[in-house]
């Protein structure tokens, strides 16, 4: 069973401010799901090479070139919760 401290730590890494009830629920639920995952430990994978994607083994590259698409800027700024002078506004970081 994972500890409540573990759950708090994962919640912090996940950037979710879980309430006490959720912390308790997740301690139980995540423990049982992680136990279920542990069945994979029995499988011998010493000679297996993992790959990320399923169909294409090759990397796909393109030129790192910015393209201006007219009109999209306005639509995207319209979705920003706090905007000033057409820029995304964020809280002071430093």
């Amino acid at each position: 069973m994972i500890t409540e401290e573990d759950v708090r730590h994962i919640a912090k890494l996940s950037r979710i401010d879980l309430n006490d009830r959720e912390l308790k629920d997740f301690q139980v639920e995540l423990s049982s799901i992680l136990d279920y995952f542990n069945k994979l430990k029995k499988i011998n994978t010493s000679s297996v090479q993992e790959r990320g994607f399923s169909a294409n083994p090759n990397n796909v590259t393109r030129k790192d070139k910015a393209i201006v698409i007219e009109g999209d800027h306005k639509k995207i700024i319209a979705l920003v919760p706090r905007e000033r002078d057409n820029f995304v506004q964020v809280k002071t970081i430093l």
């Binding site: 979710i16 309430n19 992680l34 279920y36 994979l40 399923s54 919760p81 002071t92």
Partner: protein, 472 residues
Amino acid sequence: MHLEDLTIVKAAEGLRKKEFSAVELCNAYLEFIEKKDAELHAFLNVNKGNVLDYAKKADSDIAQGTAFAITGIPCAIKDNILVSGIKCTAGSKILENYVAPYDATVVKRLKDAGAVIIGKTNLDEFAMGASTENSAFGSTKNPYDISRVPGGSSGGSAAAVAANMCCFALGSDTGGSVRQPAAFCGVVGLKPTYGSVSRYGLIAFASSLDQVGPIGKTIEDCKIIFDIIAGKDEKDSTSFPRPTVENRFGIKGLRVGMPKEYFKEGLDPGIKAIFDKSVEKMEAAGAKIEEISLPHSEHAIACYYIINPSEASANLARYDGIKYGLSIDNGKNLEDIYLDTREEGFGKEVKRRIMLGTYALSAGYYDAYYLKAQKVRELIKKDFEKAFEKIDVILTPTTPTLPFKLGEKMDDPLAMYLSDVFTSPVNLAGLPAISLPAGNIDGLPVGLQIIGGLFQEEKILSIGAECEKLWI
């Protein structure tokens, strides 16, 4: 004539012969939605604003002889696929007021082919679920029995097609989310090969598993839609050009594999009986049925539920309350905006998966969980590759159970995860598969799944079209 229960093929024929107009067809569906959707809740948003303008445009294209196969055909789009200018919520409070700034490639292709988008359908939040109960906006009900779930996560799309509220729909399938609801609602669903269909404009969930797929009333309808949406897209580097090899197949002489591991335990005996009857009919039509082994099947769910939340936890890091969507600002620092927005905006299953994924990727656990799962994924892929050396397709039930009752599995996440037991291995291996109706038990539909090798959509669709005639 009931306009709302036509297939794409029949509706297109009626339009061409001027038996009815695209506006009349669209109105028939809108009326049906009005009548039925209060009870079923398949739609999150009906495009009342300008849907008739699209239908009028379709009528003029038909009159001028510039129509395509789906010009004027009303369809529904799962609400995690972007339709420009229309809200796209992904079933989440965090995107409740998000208006899509562009069309997903699949949507653009449907629009270019003349389809009329009638609305956006309900789903489990960010497609995480197998029942549509995880939607932040309420569950969809199964049209065959409203006390039961329609499946998920594309439950709204499957229910909308089954209840004649649209002619066809798009869903997305990460671990069975097109096929399982198609089976539960008695319709056809195709999960294409990973890379067959562009994911551009599909809200990212688990990027190495996600695919958009059609849900329709018949195999033929699903093939029409697949042919339109499939193919290389410059905006999705994992997309592939359509293979040009013709790979149509018939039942006679077909080698069908039956994975013995799928029939061990947990399979509803009624579903097994329908499976056996369907197999007999295929044998009578000349198919050779062979027992095969996919030895790592029993580990697929564990493998899938490590990889899926890991990718989800990374993809969902973008919902920060800064760029778009919900933003909770209690006047403190930047990090508090992240913490409060995500606590408020995400539902329980989404939080559960982000937590699981973060854990599986975190220092000290990466090797034991994520890396291990990626290696097991290779073994699962190899099982399929080996099986396809001696058989043409694999036949399985789509789901181990009939549509379950609303609320039945909500308190037991592992039980819900096991709904994907026959479908998620297919996503891990990147293969194409369809679910199609094979019968019913006490009025509840049962679907069977046909799995093909990579990029063999045409093969499984042509076999499915024959099974469609044989089974029902």
